[in-house]
């Protein structure tokens, strides 16, 4: 799939992933308040490794693939809603 063709799919996923994060983690903000490019850790949403496991669990259920930490890209995958959505778009089986 070319870059251009995959872009709408990833864009559509952004809101879905933001919703998934908010509901999985019980965050008290609305999905639209999460900037797609803001960091999920540290200065941004301030998530931690417990949250990553929670998100990974929901991702595996919804999209039908397991995350692995020996993907060297692990840090990049969880760097923002956009990078996570892009990874899901590439890996999803459902």
């Amino acid at each position: 799939m070319s870059q251009d063709a995959s872009r709408p799919a990833a864009e559509a996923l952004l809101m879905e992933v933001a919703e998934l994060i908010v509901s999985a983690l019980n965050l008290d903000l609305s999905p639209s308040e999460i900037e797609p490019d803001a960091p999920l850790f540290g200065e941004g949403l301030g998530l931690d490794s417990i949250d990553v496991l929670e998100i990974a669990l929901v991702v595996s259920k919804r999209y039908g693939f397991q995350l692995r930490s020996d993907d060297d890209d692990n840090v990049r995958i969880f760097s923002s809603v956009r990078t996570l959505a892009e990874h899901i778009a590439c890996q999803r089986t459902q």
């Binding site: 019980n26 965050l27 008290d28 903000l29 609305s30 850790f41 540290g42 200065e43 301030g46 998530l47 931690d48 490794s49 417990i50 990553v52 496991l53 929670e54 990974a56 669990l57 595996s60 259920k61 397991q66 995350l67 692995r68 930490s69 020996d70």
Partner: protein, 451 residues
């Protein structure tokens, strides 16, 4: 001066650990430790920040061979590193990742150590009184409290644990641990079990359920999975097909009966729990499906002393009061009734409200503040997060959270942080739990209504 061996192995060619490249012998481990010992800077104390369990263990052993002490704080936040440097100005870091060690002196674990396995002729001895590690509790004054552990007490603890689990003289289990080597439980039940419990570990720290699957596949049976209720619940919930496991060990928080039953049924292995604390090391074990009572490790006694329950004997140095609410049974076993209310635990990490309140009250612009652990909501999974209230005119939530992040572990960051006009203090200035729960509920519904 009495001495104890660095390792409990009978010979140099026994397996010490498994790495992705294959099994590693005691001889290879010792050669690496001697080589690293030669490279350590002059400082007496070091922060062993190695992520890889094998490298962490080589670091520990190199420190022991060179007469150094390993500092093992519960958090590695910039605030913690600064506090440690103030206390031990000659501290240095041992790292094997891009960890930000501020400007502390730093040794990076060498890509290739010039090792000489042929020169290793024996398992070295270490002075039993030598301070091998310093672990920390959060304390109540804002400064972590150090607890020195002698090499002798660590070895005795490891032997007691391995005896209890039937590992020391039983079949050699390969250990896969989901907990870091730096945390006391991970340290005791992976690093020390490999050194003195006849149980070589897998060098990695699997995180996602699929990682655990791969790590288990990489080591031979029988296998022991060392994990926590949170990791175990996530593994089961993921639905991944888990390879054969022969033993399960859990600690950091008591298991629920449901989770214990699910785990034993799904993984077809007995699940044991270990109870302990930083001050004492490991104290007792149980298998919840057989009995809810905890059986102290060999030699360990729990006794009532006035209001307190005190642990002594076995590997414990002195008499140590315990922070948990405990009911002693006539046969020496005991029931764990819960934590005294000041202690909080989030996904196995422990702190105290007094410590956290001190941290938030110390932020610039904060007039008054308090952390609060709301009542658990039925149906939630095991994690209940903390929230906090702050009176901080002119400060934004984002500013306060950014500063707080410098001081406390991410697991304890308030979720959410409420900016309020005043705290519901009573006539004597105290904050009562019932008032805080009501205050929490009303603030929460206001925020939901506003969004």
């Amino acid at each position: 001066m009495s001495r104890l061996p660095l390792l409990g192995h009978a010979g140099l060619d026994e397996i010490f650990a498994y790495r992705p490249s294959g099994p590693l012998t005691v001889r290879a481990f010792l050669a690496a430790a001697w080589a690293l010992a030669d490279r350590l800077p002059a400082g007496q104390r070091f922060l062993n920040l190695c992520q890889d369990r094998f490298r962490f263990s080589v670091g520990l052993a190199a420190g022991l061979l060179a007469g150094r002490s390993s500092l093992q704080p519960a958090s590695q936040s910039p605030e913690t590193l600064n506090q440690i440097r103030q206390r031990w100005p000659d501290v240095f870091c041992l790292c094997d990742s891009a960890f930000d060690s501020l400007d502390l002196p730093r040794v990076d674990y060498p890509e290739s150590l010039a090792v000489h396995p042929e020169r290793v002729v024996a398992i070295p001895q270490v002075a039993a009184e030598h301070v091998a590690i310093t672990a920390f509790t959060s304390g109540s004054t804002g400064l972590p409290v150090p607890h020195d552990k002698s090499w002798g007490s660590l070895v005795r603890n490891a032997r007691a644990e391995a005896d209890r689990l039937g590992l020391r003289h039983g079949p050699r289990h390969a250990v896969v641990g989901t907990v870091p080597a730096q945390h006391m439980y991970g340290f005791e039940s992976t690093v020390l079990l490999a050194m003195h419990g006849n149980s070589p570990f897998w060098s990695g720290k699997p995180f996602y359920p699929q990682d655990i699957v791969c790590a288990l596949e990489a080591v031979p049976r029988p296998r022991l999975l060392v994990t926590t209720p949170f990791h175990l619940a996530t593994l089961l919930a993921s639905g991944v097909e888990v390879p054969a496991v022969d033993r399960l060990l859990s600690a950091t928080a008591p298991l629920s009966e449901q989770l214990a039953a699910d785990a034993e049924a799904r993984l077809a292995a007995p699940l044991q729990e270990i109870y302990g604390c930083t001050e004492t090391g490991q104290l007792a074990s149980r298998r919840l499906l057989a009995d809810a009572a905890w059986l102290p490790l060999d030699g360990v006694r729990l006794e009532r002393e006035g209001e307190l329950i005190v642990a002594s004997g076995g590997h414990i140095e002195g008499r140590v009061p315990l922070a948990d609410a405990i009911e002693l049974l006539p046969d020496g076993r005991f029931l764990l009734l819960g934590r005294h209310s000041d202690l909080v635990s989030v996904a196995g990490k422990r702190s105290s409200l007094a410590y956290l309140n001190h941290q938030i009250a110390a932020l610039p612009g904060v007039v008054d503040a308090a952390f609060f652990q709301p009542d658990a909501v039925p149906g939630d999974r095991d994690i209940t997060r903390l929230c906090a209230f702050a009176v901080a005119p002119g400060q934004s939530r984002q500013q306060l959270l950014a500063r707080l992040r410098q001081r406390v572990d991410a697991a304890f960051l308030p979720r959410p942080l409420f900016i309020v006009d005043a705290l519901p203090r009573n006539a004597t200035g105290k904050l009562e739990r019932a008032q805080l729960q009501a205050f929490y509920e009303s603030n929460r519904s206001q925020r939901h209504a506003a969004s």
